[in-house]
């Protein structure tokens, strides 16, 4: 079995600010990590490999420094990693990203299951997984909380708003993984040391035979025209005094406001 995991490198915080002078995001000094949901996808792939054999390939589309995220995935136990990187990919929205990843996966060729995180921690769109499945022409199962391969078919439990849904679909297929699916393993030191030395190929637009008109900014139908800080609610009333008094004041305020 060949499992392909698509990951994204994201800043290790969502506490970004906008520089009021330049109206751009301030991201300096924030370390980068693997998108947390993607770690669940890596873990799911590693567990499936342990059960069914085969290999786990991790790919990411991003700038050259995204290689670090791939090394972390290798340290966790992935077998191979490929960086998809080209200036032509800059400014990709989710459509262009899913197209580009699909080209790369088509170049890889044989695969049984593609795994993605539910969504990225920075963009929170959750659109690349389904978009990728569409470009690959394979079934998708989103919000996977459990994924098993039974008699060559994929059986997935999906975490929906108020219930779980169990679906079956043939392979190859794509799943997006939720946090509750598993506990991503920590990288062992042997893995860390091995990953440091691993050769990670970089594939360009040309390597994956991508139509550059469908990549990057050019290939992205959506454009961000403005970023701004969210509006804050105005601060309310501070209740002060000893605990008993404060609690009584609060209860009467809530009663007045007809909240209780």
């Amino acid at each position: 079995m060949h499992f392909i995991v698509c990951i994204k490198q994201v800043p290790d915080t969502t506490e970004v600010r906008i520089d009021p002078a330049t109206n751009t995001l301030v991201r300096e000094g924030v370390p980068s990590i693997i998108n947390p949901f993607d770690e669940n996808a890596i873990e799911a792939a590693l567990q499936l490999r342990e059960k069914h054999g085969g290999k786990v390939t991790v790919i990411t589309m991003g700038p050259p420094q995204a290689e670090q995220a791939l090394r972390e995935a290798l340290a966790m136990g992935a077998d191979e990693a490929i960086l998809i990187s080209d200036r032509a990919f800059a400014g990709s929205d989710t459509l262009a990203t899913s197209y580009t990843l699909a080209r790369a996966i088509n170049k890889i060729g044989d695969y049984d299951l593609v795994l993605c995180g539910k969504q990225a921690f920075d963009g929170d769109t959750a659109q690349v997984g389904p978009g990728l499945a569409e470009h690959l022409g394979i079934p998708q199962v989103t919000y996977a909380i459990d994924a098993q391969i039974v008699d060559g078919r994929l059986r997935v439990k999906r975490l929906l708003e108020s219930y779980f849904e169990v679906v079956e679909t043939p392979l190859p297929a794509l799943i997006t993984c939720v946090k509750q699916m598993n506990e991503p393993r920590h990288a062992g030191l042997r893995g860390v040391m091995k990953a440091r030395k691993a050769q990670i190929p970089t594939w360009t637009a040309q390597d994956i035979e991508a139509d550059v008109e469908r990549c990057g900014l050019t290939g992205s139908p959506t454009n961000v025209i403005r970023v701004f800080p969210p509006q804050r609610h105005r601060a309310g009333e501070k209740l002060e005094g000893d605990v008993e008094q404060v609690v009584q004041t609060l209860i009467s305020k809530l009663r007045e406001a007809k909240v209780l």
Binding site: V16, L160, E168
Partner: protein, 401 residues
């Protein structure tokens, strides 16, 4: 130029696999080669059915799209247990405003089985027209048939705007449709408006865990698609006198060609079933609780109030409480009447999930905690003193009634 589909005669072997995949009976095989008939609505359902890569699906380059051909606002319906989902009603309310600004009709795309009675409900909530597709295969949402039908109808009727709830269904379906037709899709919007000059949809959404807002435009590709966060838009007061035009669309879906099967629906009982989003009161605990067992304080208060228990991401990450309790950007967005935040500092990502609650009470020992910026009532104090005192006082209070 819009989407183009054709068959590469060199690759087609005349195997007829695509015939079963077509919901519109729009493919015939003649002289050993497949051919599209006039009935083709460009839904793309056949493309992945071809094992030989003979069906070529070409998306237009973005400058080639004639945007003037696209008119009207669509909402794609989500139904549960024979009712329109709340988010669908909310989108009809918001869609009504957009459609009025554009002076174009508002339509609901309603897919399902036995859902016709919902068409008039959609009318009460603001829809001018309902495109109705009923089929057994559509009884329960599944990605492939819903995508195929929706894409076919979008290509046929060319709406300018398509709105879908940012629910597990909408976020599964939206990107699949958008990728097939090359449309721009903005995820999880919290604000929509029409740009008065360009008549384009300005879509505003939070990113980076709600720390920034981004406004997004889609100039060239059509339709302009957005998934919209539930509980953000307001539904209209229903007007039972409002009439709706029903356009019934015929498709011939074949269960055999749908590869994904729903095997089981599991509803779990008890604590597992925290439906935070429906709760009127939520009591949430944060890092200030310091240990898993201290969630007992939160539960006691919640019990007295008949409230659901929420949690900050830090506590979920620490393993103190299961993730389905999590409120915030990566958890659930809630809008209860009363939200009591105990020991939650108020990271923006948490605020993003609860700041639109009607009334917010914050209990935190740090007077500078950002949670106080959104709190209706703030109590600076030790939650280990305040929460039990509040629980006790409320017990007394309710006991007297």
């Amino acid at each position: 130029m819009a989407i183009n589909i054709y068959i590469d005669p060199d690759k087609c072997v005349g195997c007829k696999l695509c015939l079963g995949a077509c919901p519109y009976g729009a493919i015939v095989v003649e002289e050993g080669k497949a051919r599209f008939t006039e009935a083709c609505v460009l839904c793309g359902a056949c493309v992945s059915s071809c094992k030989f890569g003979a069906i070529i699906w070409e998306q237009p380059k973005k400058e080639e799209v004639d945007t003037s051909q696209y008119q009207g606002v669509w909402v794609i319906a989500e139904t549960h247990d024979g009712r329109l989902a709340e988010v669908t009603l909310e989108l009809l309310g918001e869609g009504r405003k957009l459609a009025d600004t554009l002076d174009e009709p508002l339509s609901l795309l309603l897919l399902g089985n036995g859902v016709e009675p919902l068409a008039s409900v959609a009318g009460h909530y603001g829809a001018d027209r309902v495109y109705l597709v009923e089929d057994e295969v559509l009884a329960h949402y599944r990605t492939a048939p819903f995508t195929d039908v929706a894409v076919g109808l979008i290509n046929k009727y060319k709406p300018s705007i398509v709105l879908i709830g940012a629910t597990s269904m909408g976020r599964d379906l939206g990107p699949r449709i958008a990728a097939r037709i090359g449309a721009g899709l903005t995820a999880d919007c919290t604000g929509l408006e029409i740009d008065p000059q360009e008549r384009l949809l300005r879509q505003t959404r939070p990113a980076f865990g709600g720390n920034i807002m981004a406004t997004i435009l889609c100039r060239h590709a059509r339709p302009q698609m957005a998934t919209v966060r539930p509980k953000v838009m307001k539904k209209l007061d229903p007007d039972p006198g409002r009439q709706v035009e029903i356009v019934r669309e015929q498709v011939s879906l074949n269960e055999k060609t749908i590869v994904t099967k729903i095997v089981e629906i599991v509803r779990e009982e008890g604590d597992e079933q925290v439906n935070l989003q429906d709760a009127e009161i939520i009591v949430s605990g944060g890092r200030g609780l310091r240990a898993a067992e201290n969630f007992a304080l939160i539960r006691e208060l919640a019990d007295v109030l008949g409230a659901a228990v929420g949690a900050s991401r830090a506590t979920v990450d620490a393993g103190w409480i299961p993730a389905y309790h999590q409120v915030g950007q990566t958890g659930k967005t809630v809008q209860p009447k009363l939200y009591i935040a105990c020991g939650i500092s108020g990271a923006v990502q948490h605020l993003a999930g609860m700041s639109s609650s009607d009334c917010i009470v914050a209990i935190n020992s740090d007077p500078n905690a950002p949670i106080f910026d959104v709190a209706t009532y703030g109590i600076v104090g030790d939650l280990f003193e305040v929460v039990p005192a509040l629980t006790k006082a409320l017990k007394r209070e309710f006991g007297q009634q």
